[in-house]
Amino acid sequence: MKIKRLEALLPIVGVAGLLAIWSLTTWRQWVDPVLLPSPILTFKAMWAGMHGALGFDFVKTVYRTAAATVIASVIAIPLGILLGASEKIYRSLEFVIDFFRSTPASAMFPLFLVLFGVGDETKISVAAFGAALVILFNVAYGVMNARKTRLLAAKVMGASRLRVLFDVMLLESLPQTFVGLRNGISLALVVIVVAEMFIGSQDGLGHSVFEAQQLFEMPRMYAAIFAAGVLGYGLNLLFMLIERRFVHWSGK
């Protein structure tokens, strides 16, 4: 009983360990304190920042990432279903999709800059481009890998092709669709943060990290990095919770 209760604490062991090593390092001054501020200083900067400029940047990044993911989903999910439902269409487009999926989205910045200028459109559209391909690929695979028996069962019960698509294939593909959405939003966040650093941005977490580094405000820089980490982790967690709620049969 006692051991069981202790086991519940296991997940925080890593966090506690990390904080301990970090504190020890700054306390013993093993690293230049200018380069690595203490955890307390960092979290103070984060607390203060989240109530001010950092909070604003955080919201900006959330907005851009969300916009990119929504656009990507709206385009990629229906297209993925179409591709997955018809093996012939998929086979003919497989190479193109695989090629652009393997192309680093960041390599598209110059092109999108020419197309959309230096505003939000460029950042969001490059992130959407990257995320869309990841989502598309996963949705198509989810549809294609629908269990054969389940499709036959629907057919035997008299379901038309369209019914099979909506009643079986779509639902069958949901777990894989969520894999795509989670990967897609992670990629979108990476692209957005990079864009905020270098594509003439005035705000956003990427801008915040970059600016703090330029001004050598190390606690603020670490605070911004952690904020980005919190965002990435939070988005992943959010999608996992949504999946568990709506795709309750996943993995069962």
Binding site: A153, V156, R163, W249
Partner: protein
């Protein structure tokens, strides 16, 4: 011609006995059925009559085409040649049920058990209210005590297969196909499910075609055992199992049962050795 059972809106007629127009006439007639996979000839001009209202077990050597046969009859695998008629009608004109071996993949995990059972009615465009009624009626009629608000993955294997069987019965099928329905269950559950199936058969009188890889099960459940040869499959024998129903554990030591089982085993081994 009109040997179709009453299928018109009749929510109270769950599992109404099949109309027996001419008892001597076969229910299913199979003529000149041919099927090949790549170079292997599985069926070559195969003929068979399936009698009405009987439970037929299909048994034979591995890979002889037991499942292929019922899949062709049930329209899951198109035959290369030949004709299959149900009272002179095509498959598309009749109502039938099919129970898969792999219940885990055959049920819809996103629907509760109740909605799984009612799903075929939705395909027949039965209005929602009547769907509910007919499903409830079937459940009550079968007297199966199951929490149908559960999702399939919350149920045991046997319960899931029971839901599968109920799903195939809800349309009041004229014929029911079962492809090794119990082979993914443990022994205890298999014994229980055999008796459940027998009960359903006695109550409904629906023609059933059951593929089995277990000779005891095949004979125990059957009115006739269809013994197939190695492919190209022929009917090696089609003996009648004239042991009264309901069959019980005592049946397993009944001299007639033992005799037929031994005979089937003889035929089976002769066919296996013929390779």
């Amino acid at each position: 011609m009109n040997a179709r059972p009453a299928i018109l809106p009749d929510p109270t007629g769950v599992l109404a006995p099949v109309a027996r127009v001419s008892p001597g006439r076969p229910h299913v007639t199979i003529r000149g059925l041919s099927k090949r996979f790549d170079k292997a000839v599985i069926y070559d001009k195969f003929d068979l009559d399936i009698p009405r209202g009987e439970l037929i077990s299909v048994f034979g050597p591995n890979g002889c085409g037991k499942s292929t046969l019922i899949n062709m009859i049930a329209g899951l695998t198109p035959p290369d040649e030949g004709q299959i008629l149900f009272d002179g009608m095509l498959l598309s004109e009749i109502k039938f049920g099919y129970v898969f071996q792999n219940y885990r993949e055959a049920l819809f995990p996103w629907l509760r058990a109740f909605d799984n059972i009612a799903y075929p009615l939705k395909m027949m465009k039965v209005p929602p209210k009547e769907r509910r009624l007919r499903t409830e009626k079937l459940v009550a009629h079968l007297g199966i005590k199951l929490d149908l608000n559960l999702f399939p993955y919350q149920m045991s294997g046997g319960q899931q297969q029971l839901v599968s069987i109920m799903r195939s019965l809800v349309v009041e099928p004229e014929i029911l196909f079962l492809d090794e329905p119990f082979s993914a269950l443990d022994y205890e559950m298999t014994l229980f499910m055999r008796d459940q199936l027998q009960k359903l058969f006695i109550e409904s009188g629906t023609t059933m075609v059951l593929v089995s890889h277990d000779l005891e099960e095949a004979v125990y459940l059957a009115d006739r055992v269809l013994l197939l040869s190695r492919h190209p499959a022929r009917v090696a024998d089609f003996p009648r199992v004239s042991v009264s129903r309901p069959r019980t554990d005592a049946t397993l030591s009944d001299p007639e049962f033992v005799r037929i089982k031994a005979h089937c085993l003889d035929v089976f081994q002769r066919e296996v050795r013929r390779a």
